[in-house]
Amino acid sequence: MSNEDKTVIRIAIIDDDAGVRHSMGMLLETRHWTYTEFERATDFLEHATPADFNCLLVDVRIPDMSGLELFDELNRRAKKQPRYIPPVLFLTGHGDIPMAVKALKQGACDFLEKPVNHRTLIDALNRALDIDITDRPVYYSQEKLLNEIAALTTREREVLTEIVSGYLSKQIAGHLNISTKTVEAHRLRICQKFNTRTSMELAAKLRDISPEWWAS
């Protein structure tokens, strides 16, 4: 889907009430945004890829698995394996304020109380989409780097881990029980692969990527 047209905005609506879903969808259509409806959170987890959507519109009160639980699960999965999670907008009924605060603390984009004014909803969606536009490239560049790292040999990955940890060649040689020359050779090759000249540049490039992601 994502490779067809970059300008198409996709929004996932996760709500158990069909009327709400449908009315929401119609409202999104008026803004020329495409949407996909999910009745249950589990449906979304099983059948959809979060990164395919620019925003997730989630009702807190849904049977089986609440919206917050869904959000938790997504965050948990992203920790395990780097994944892009688009901004999440929560919708809630009467008096679930403590829940909303908790969700916001965990990184939700916004929190709207039902029945929500359509303007408020549209504004919130626009803000979420802006966030999506800024966050998504960062994620993809990181993903590209990760792919490059994945392309390295095992030994090179070990050396790379040592390099980003700030160790000198001699120390790395000591840690990995190989000669300094070999380390230097690996270092040179890695720099070439990442298109950098020095180890410093390499470290700067890999700054936002946790070594844990490739260590396994």
């Binding site: 009924g93 929500v116 359509h118």
Partner: protein, 795 residues
């Protein structure tokens, strides 16, 4: 029978407590002892002298007596010897004369005259030699004097006649017996004795020679001078008649005398001798006996006196020894140090306690003068000043405090009391001082002070307010800092805690929670009766600020209450909450659709399909909302099928119990007025309880908006019944009902977080029970909700 005199009870007890030494405490007894002592002391030499004198006298008397007896014996012996000697000497003389005369008489016999002359010559010579021989006569056989001496013509008077019968008798006997015979004593002017000698032995009838002896003369010449000097001599005849000396005074012979036969065997004469002055010695004897008697009596008296004195002296000594022991024991048992100074300030006496206290030997202390070895160097000035003041006579009654060096070099705090030491004549002799060791006392005092401070610090630091007040008048005796900070009193010393209402009075220990009206804080007050320092009962109040705890507890309780409430009325609450959510969904959809519709209305060309679809969906969603409301109604009606018989009082219990914490927190009292007797209502208990709960909670919340919380009828639940119905009236003194028309409409509320469903549901519930719920304003101000239900007739 004599009534026994009971000793004074005090004396008995005293005697019991001091069985041995009681005498010491009897001043009279003591004085007596002293007098005896003095008497013995003063008279002793005199007594001894008189005693010795008496003894000497007695001994002398006895010796004199013995000497006298001895002397008398020896005198008697001597007397007998002397008398014997005298008698023999006289007898010898007489015998010699007799022999000579006999010889001469025989010569006369011979014829011749010459012989007569010779005889006379010889006789003359004999007479001259013997003055006692007064006459020698030669008598012939006819009894005539032939010749004789002295020569006389007429026979002298002093010579007895020759024919005297006694002489004749003697001549006869002489002639008969042919031997010299002494006649019996012839009493002439002097006792005379005639010796008749026969001239011839062979021829009878011849003449005789008479020799006449003057016995007086005989004794006078024959007795030597010393004999006369020593003895009284008397010649006695046969009848113990005294012959010579026959004149003069004859001493009465009472004493010892000696008698001895004198002369020839038949003479019948005897000599008697007695020592001179025998009467004198008798007197001496009586005198001696008297003296011995007197001396003996004197000795007995003296001995008795002495014995008494000795006894008294022994008793005095015993008393003195007891006194000494007593004093010694007293001195030993004293823990107070005693010391005496002479007038110059030298120590003259110390007791063992002082030595022990100071750790110095008595020998070191006695005689020493200022500065004393027990004065510490750093207090030298104080000590010497105190010493000088004591000597100057400045001795305060409460004593002086001093620091000295105690045993082992430790500091010794003492209190010194001094008093003047006077002798009998009230002359000042020195000073007596007693030292009380106050070190322990000082330490105790310091410890007490420190513990007091600690206690004070603890009490001050306590978060609780502590106060002690008198029970009788509520006078404040003590309070800690916290109490002073927290509570201010209008009247000084009045403890307001006493006056606060609702506090338990009189019980031993009680606790209560109360609110201070000034600050609004809540306190937990624990009150108990304790004994104050003067043993009077007082109240100890410990007030702890529990505002925060209470708030926390209230919050927790409210949460509990909410949970309980939710659980208790789960179906209804869940239902209401569900309704809210359910209604939210269609409303949200309707909102969205309307937005869609309005958006499409603005677009050109007009997308009629879309608009129609949106509007159609809007109406569908509205229907859905209506269905939700309807289902709520039907749910309630469906529940109210479960009707049972309940007592109204029981129905009220649950809501009141649930609301009690809220009422307490808001400080509102819920008044309930129930008629007597059970009121049976056929209903769904849960529903009716919910209604009551809602109504009472509304009332409480209404009152809490105002200041009427303290009113008695702030929240009043009244139950009244008539024949078939019971009316429950819940009235409050809150702000009242602003808009009675909208009151029971769903979603109408005046509360900030209310949903506006409570009263609507209540009305539905009551109506489903066939009753009626209505509201109006309370005539006293506030609101009044009433509902009526049919009830079962009694009986």
């Amino acid at each position: 029978m004599a009534q026994p005199t009971w000793p004074d009870l005090n004396e008995v007890t005293l005697r019991k407590s001091f069985p041995g030494d009681l005498q010491l405490f009897n001043p009279r007894q003591k004085a007596k002892h002293n007098v005896a002592q003095k008497f013995v002391k003063r008279r002793w030499p005199w007594l001894a002298a008189s005693l010795i004198l008496t003894v000497a006298l007695f001994v002398a008397t006895t010796l004199g007596w013995l000497w006298y007896v001895d002397q008398r014996d020896s005198t008697a012996r001597q007397l007998s010897l002397d008398l014997l000697w005298l008698e023999q000497s006289v007898t010898q003389n007489l015998n010699d004369n007799e022999h000579m005369l006999g010889n001469w008489a025989r010569d006369l016999q011979k014829p011749g005259a010459a012989h007569a002359g010779e005889f006379l010559n010889l006789a003359d010579g004999l007479i001259k030699e013997n003055p006692a021989l007064i006459a020698i006569d030669v008598i012939d056989k006819n009894g005539r004097r032939v010749v004789g001496l002295p020569n006389y013509t007429e026979r002298p008077q002093r010579l007895p006649p020759v024919n005297d019968p006694l002489i004749n008798e003697a001549i006869q006997r002489c002639l008969t017996m042919k031997r010299p015979v002494y006649s019996r004593v012839i009493e002439q002017y002097a006792p005379l004795w005639v010796l008749a000698l026969p001239v011839s032995e062979d021829t009878a009838g011849q003449g005789v020679v008479l020799a006449t002896y003057d016995l007086d003369q005989l004794l006078a010449t024959q007795v030597p001078w010393w004999f006369v000097q020593r003895y009284d001599l008397a010649l006695l005849d046969r009848d113990n008649k005294e012959l010579s000396p026959h004149d003069g005074d004859v001493p009465q012979l009472t004493g010892d005398f000696h008698k001895l036969n004198f002369g020839p065997d038949n003479s019948g004469l005897s000599l008697r001798a007695a020592p001179h002055a025998s009467g004198h010695s008798e007197k001496l004897l009586i005198g001696l006996s008297l003296a011995v008697l007197v001396a003996g009596l004197l000795i007995i008296w003296l001995l008795r006196l002495l014995q008494r004195w000795l006894r008294e002296r022994l008793a005095a000594q015993q008393a003195l020894a007891n006194e000494l022991h007593f004093r010694e024991a007293m001195e030993q048992s004293l823990v107070t140090g005693l010391l005496a100074f002479d007038i110059d300030g030298r120590i003259i006496y110390v007791n063992p306690a002082l030595c022990q206290m100071l750790g110095l030997e008595a020998s070191t202390l006695i005689g020493s003068s200022a500065p004393f070895p027990f004065w510490p160097k750093n207090h030298l000035l104080d000590c010497s000043a105190a010493h000088a003041a004591m000597l100057a006579g400045d001795n305060p009654e409460q004593g002086r405090r001093l620091n000295l060096i105690g045993a082992g070099g430790s500091t010794l705090s003492v209190r010194l009391f001094a008093s003047p030491l006077t002798s009998e004549g009230s002359n000042l002799k020195g000073w007596m001082a007693s030292l009380y060791d106050t070190t322990e006392l000082q330490k105790e005092r310091e410890a007490l002070a420190s513990s007091r401070e600690q206690l004070y610090a603890v009490l001050s630091g306590l978060d609780a307010a502590v106060c002690v007040s008198q029970i009788s008048d509520g006078k404040l005796l003590f309070r800690n800092r916290r109490h002073a900070d927290l509570f201010r009193f209008y009247a000084a010393g009045e403890c307001c805690l006493i006056c606060w209402p609702g506090l338990p009075q009189g019980s031993e220990k009680s606790s209560v929670e109360f609110q201070d009206r000034q600050s609004g804080n809540w306190y937990h007050l624990e009150r108990r009766k304790i004994l104050w320092v003067d043993d009077s009962p007082v109240l100890l109040d410990i007030a702890t600020d529990i505002t925060a705890r209470r708030e926390a507890a209230n919050t927790a309780r409210e949460r509990d209450e909410l949970l309980q409430h939710t659980a208790r009325l789960a179906s209804l609450a869940e239902f209401a909450s569900g309704i809210a959510h359910e209604l939210n969904q269609p409303l949200a959809a309707i909102s969205n659709y309307s937005a869609v519709a309005s958006t499409y209305l603005d677009t050109t060309p007009l997308q009629t399909d879309k608009i129609r679809e949106a509007v159609h969906l809007m109406s569908e969603e509205s229907d859905r909302a209506g269905k939700i409301i309807h289902s709520m109604r039907s749910f309630i009606q469906k529940r109210s099928i479960q009707h049972d018989l309940h007592d109204l009082a029981d129905l009220l219990k649950e809501p009141l119990l649930l609301l009690a914490p809220l009422a307490e927190r808001l400080n509102i009292r819920i008044a309930v007025q129930l008629p007597d007797g059970p009121i049976q209502v056929e209903c769904d208990a849960v529903m009716i309880e919910q209604v009551l709960f809602n109504l009472i909670r509304n009332a409480l919340e209404a009152v809490s908006c105002t200041n009427n919380a303290e009113l008695v009828d702030a929240v009043l639940v009244q139950v009244a019944r008539d024949a078939d119905n019971v009316t429950i009236r819940v009235s409050d003194r809150g702000p009242g009902i602003q808009d009675p028309g909208k009151l029971f409409q769903p979603f109408y509320t005046t509360k900030q977080d209310g949903m506006g469903l409570g009263l609507a549901i209540c009305r539905t519930v009551i109506e489903s029970h066939g009753g009626r719920l209505w509201a109006d304003n309370n005539p006293q101000g506030g609101a009044c909700f009433q509902f009526r239900l049919s009830c079962i007739q009694r009986g």
